[in-house]
């Protein structure tokens, strides 16, 4: 475990980088001209970034995570409510862990 000073330096470093990443997207875009093509690209980007994130987590996870996400997507398509999707995914994950134990 690091000493107190190194620990606080690390905490400030991590927090600073994270805050900068949250602020920088819109500030970078303010320097680029907005066009219909750019708007369309950003619209697609807002879907693809979440899809890529989910896919990346699933690829590193196992069948338990895949089964949970499948249940969540099914619940979302049928019931159209994110809260039921989360509940369905949680039940499958908890059930999987319970049965595997």
């Amino acid at each position: 475990m690091p000493d107190a000073i190194s620990a606080w330096v690390a905490i400030l470093l991590v927090s600073g980088v994270t805050l900068t990443s949250r602020l920088s997207g819109p500030f970078l875009m303010a320097r680029l001209p907005m066009s219909p093509a750019m708007e369309r690209f950003l619209q697609n980007l807002s879907l693809s970034v979440i899809a890529a994130l989910v896919a990346s987590i699933l690829a590193r996870g196992g069948l338990r995570e895949a089964a949970s996400v499948a249940a969540a997507i099914l619940a979302m398509v049928v019931l159209r409510k994110a809260i039921w999707a989360m509940a369905a995914g949680m039940v499958v994950a908890a059930g999987w862990t319970f049965l595997a134990a």
């Binding site: 475990m1 997207g25 303010a30 693809s48 979440i50 890529a52 989910v54 896919a55 989360m86």
Partner: protein
């Protein structure tokens, strides 16, 4: 696609903040066990309770904080830590860019706190609303605030409780965020054309996972999906 009408003003109001908070309050409830899981993991790694609480308060990101724990050794490699955290955070830049047509029309003093609380969950939920004509950025700020509160509440409880609490993974809390994000994508990919960025983004992120440091594969996937979607549209 929805063109952003220049005539309708972008606003940030207290009722908007309240609606945002209510919209993601159910998700925020699930952030409590998440934050708790981090607090517990941090204390097993030897992070002091005050340190893990301040980190949760300031960083407010599960992926960033768990990556930090991986590098929490007696001697901290600051360069490696900065690189890893930058990679994990890179998707925030993409999300911010995607929100820029709306967010950049707010005054700076409203833009900064709204962006400071940007995260996967409120991005996924709010960008849908903005595309459907929502003009109140309070939705983003309010949902950010309620998620932050849940995360910090859990982190404080976890930092003090340490390992005395059971395993949050056994109860399925670890997949809740993943399922919420998958549900947001499923809720929006309702037209064949919107499947293009989703499928290309997912496929490229998986294919580049073994080739790139974790985090960058998400960015490459996001850009590939964005470009593919625009190309199919044209």
């Amino acid at each position: 696609m929805v063109r952003i009408a220049q005539s309708s003003p972008i606003i940030l109001t207290a009722p908007g903040i309240r609606r945002g908070a209510l919209l993601l309050a159910p998700v925020a409830l699930f952030f409590i066990p998440f934050g708790l899981a981090f607090g517990v993991a941090a204390s097993t790694k030897g992070m002091a309770a005050t340190q893990s609480m301040v980190l949760s308060l300031l960083a407010f990101s599960g992926s960033v904080q768990f990556s930090t724990l991986d590098l929490w050794h007696a001697t901290i490699a600051y360069g490696t830590l900065a690189l890893v955290v930058t990679a994990v955070n890179a998707r925030h830049v993409v999300m911010g860019a995607a929100l820029s047509p709306w967010i950049n029309r707010l005054p700076l003093r409203q833009r900064l706190p709204t962006l400071a609380l940007l995260n996967d969950a409120n991005f996924a939920a709010c960008q849908t609303a903005f595309r459907s004509g929502e003009r109140d950025m309070g939705l983003l700020l309010g949902s950010g605030l309620v998620l932050w509160a849940g995360w910090v509440l859990g982190a404080v409880a976890g930092a003090f409780a340490g390992t005395s609490i059971g395993d949050p993974v056994a109860l399925g809390f670890d997949v809740v965020m993943l399922c919420f994000l998958a549900a947001m994508v499923a809720g929006q990919a309702n037209r064949p054309l919107s499947l293009v960025p989703v499928l290309v983004g997912a496929a490229v992120a998986i294919l580049t996972l073994p080739l790139l440091p974790q985090g960058w594969n998400v960015i490459v996937g996001a850009f590939a999906g964005g470009i593919a979607g625009s190309w199919f549209h044209a």
